[in-house]
Amino acid sequence: MNSRSRNMWAYFMVAPTLIGTLVFWSWPAFYSIYLGFLKSENFGLVNHWVGFDNYQKLFKDEEFWQNLKNTLKYMVLFVPSTIVLSTFFAVLLNAKIKGQSAYRVIFFLPQVTMPAAAAMVWVVLFAQDYGLLNHVLGTRVSWLSDPRFAMYSVVLVGVWAAIGFNMLLILAGLQGIPKTLYEAAEIDGAVRFNKFRYITLPLLTPTLFFTTVVLMIGASQIFDSIYLLIGKTNVALPSVRSLVYAYYQNSFVYYDQNYGAVIVNILLFINLILTGLQFLFQKKWVVYD
């Protein structure tokens, strides 16, 4: 077959994905940046170029800084707790115990559960007067509407949902560590913790790093659980409202597309930095087989 017809086949096979990506994803990404420089009137019928006005307004908006802080706080609380707990359970499951597959299934269950449905049951569990959580703990905390606790409750639900999946990733990383290393350490009389500290942890670093970045990217886009756990009339909303929630509110509740666009463009900026970091460090740490 000549190279001309081979190339035609290649373009034919790539075309649907390439055209679909350009139309439905690439163009919208650039258009979102463009929208940030416009001021729309009459439901988008009239657009004025306003330069950086929307960004100036955004940076003067205290609510935006609070939302950014909330998003970062969520990331800082959610990512390390998920990583630590997932690693902990992965190490336990890696110890060749009975019933490993049953535990894996149970831990994975929240991952296949629709976040909307999960949030609804957590609302019932968190209820102040008749919630199971307060009943078990003997407390009367309003987990979801007290600004002091709301963020932690959202994080708890996030961690609950994320452990199973991340545990599996880390477990796969653990199973890639050669057994001979541990055997050598045992001959040298290393104790359990030292084996973890000096063999497992260093060799697991690439997996942990990859997992951390993926979790951070996901956490920076948190929306579902805030929308459903906290809700628009909740007094604790200002203390948990994320960037994406604010984007949704501004764009589709207040119908200010331009202001919504600048919020989400900031998020894009944060995500590009995270991806850049991943790319940079991946080259250093990850060994491809």
Binding site: F107, Y130, L132
Partner: protein, 279 residues
């Protein structure tokens, strides 16, 4: 190994099991509570102190949730868009991935870059422009709007390419000598070899499609056009604190995926873990 060591191993095993069982209980409690609450009366669900088991199992909340909230539409719309968002990306992505991995053609690098570069962009960035596009096409508040932008998947393309790259050249060369064109090589030789990766992609696409909330919430508003996720969100505003009805709705929404998960648990777990590893 001496006697005292096996004894201490046994002890640590017991501790490990205790920790794992306790955590398993925490993981499952929400599901049990969902089910228990759905068969209580509204009174029992909000009783103080907490009443764990209802006096009688009352299934009426299921009919109530189903009848009063267009559940049949939610099911259909969710299942139909999940189907579209799985079948088409599988076909298109595997074709593109094959071409990127196995054919050298002018512009290959730039085309691939264009496709994977959108993976760095958070989904909400796309929503307003996509909304404006749907509105131009007259697709706002239609079932089509739920899936039309997701007929292709950059992620699946990226993932499958990794797998096509790993296949040895010999099979392909033999096929070329036999006069196969690239599409025949893709279809008859390569696709069967990446079956496990295809299964992983099917599972991931299906899970995403089934559980997605924000886009359906933005693009559609009438009850007949909503998906399960977005439908549940409206159920909350309708039934406020009628927890049995809400939990019945939630249970009906999660049960298809959970059943699928139990039937294909190994494939689910391996598929998801393995794709994230290559990705």
């Amino acid at each position: 190994m001496n006697g005292s060591e096996t004894l201490s191993n046994k002890k640590t095993n017991i501790v490990i099991h205790a920790v794992l069982i306790a955590t398993s209980v925490v993981m499952i409690v929400p599901f049990i509570w969902m089910l228990l609450t759905s068969v209580k009366t509204p009174m029992e669900a909000t009783q103080i102190p907490v009443k764990i088991f209802p006096d009688v199992l009352r299934w009426g909340s299921y009919t109530e949730a189903f009848v009063q909230s267009s559940f049949k539409y939610y099911y259909f719309n969710t299942a139909f868009s999940a189907l579209m968002k799985t079948v088409f990306p599988i076909i298109f992505s595997s074709m593109a991935a094959f071409a990127f991995a196995r054919i050298r053609f002018p512009g290959r690098g730039i085309c691939f870059f264009v496709i994977i570069s959108v993976m760095m962009v958070p989904n909400p960035v796309f929503y307003t422009p996509q909304y404006l596009m749907m509105s131009k096409l007259g697709l706002v508040n239609t079932v089509t709007a739920l899936w039309i932008a997701a007929l292709i998947s950059p992620f699946a393309t990226f993932l499958l390419r990794q797998f096509f790259l790993g296949i040895s050249k010999e099979l392909e060369e033999a096929a070329i000598l036999d006069g196969c064109n690239p599409f025949q090589i893709y279809w008859h030789i390569m696709l069967p070899l990446v079956k496990s990766a295809l299964v992983a992609v099917v599972i991931i696409q299906m899970l995403w499609a089934w559980n997605e909330l924000q886009w359906p919430l933005i693009i559609n508003s009438s009850p007949e056009k909503l998906t399960l996720s977005a439908g549940l969100a409206t159920l909350v505003s309708k039934f406020a604190t009628n927890y049995p009805v809400l939990m019945a709705g939630a249970f009906m929404a999660v049960i298809p995926m959970i059943l699928l998960f139990f039937v294909f648990q190994k494939r689910f777990i391996e598929g998801v873990a393995f794709s994230a590893h290559k990705g």
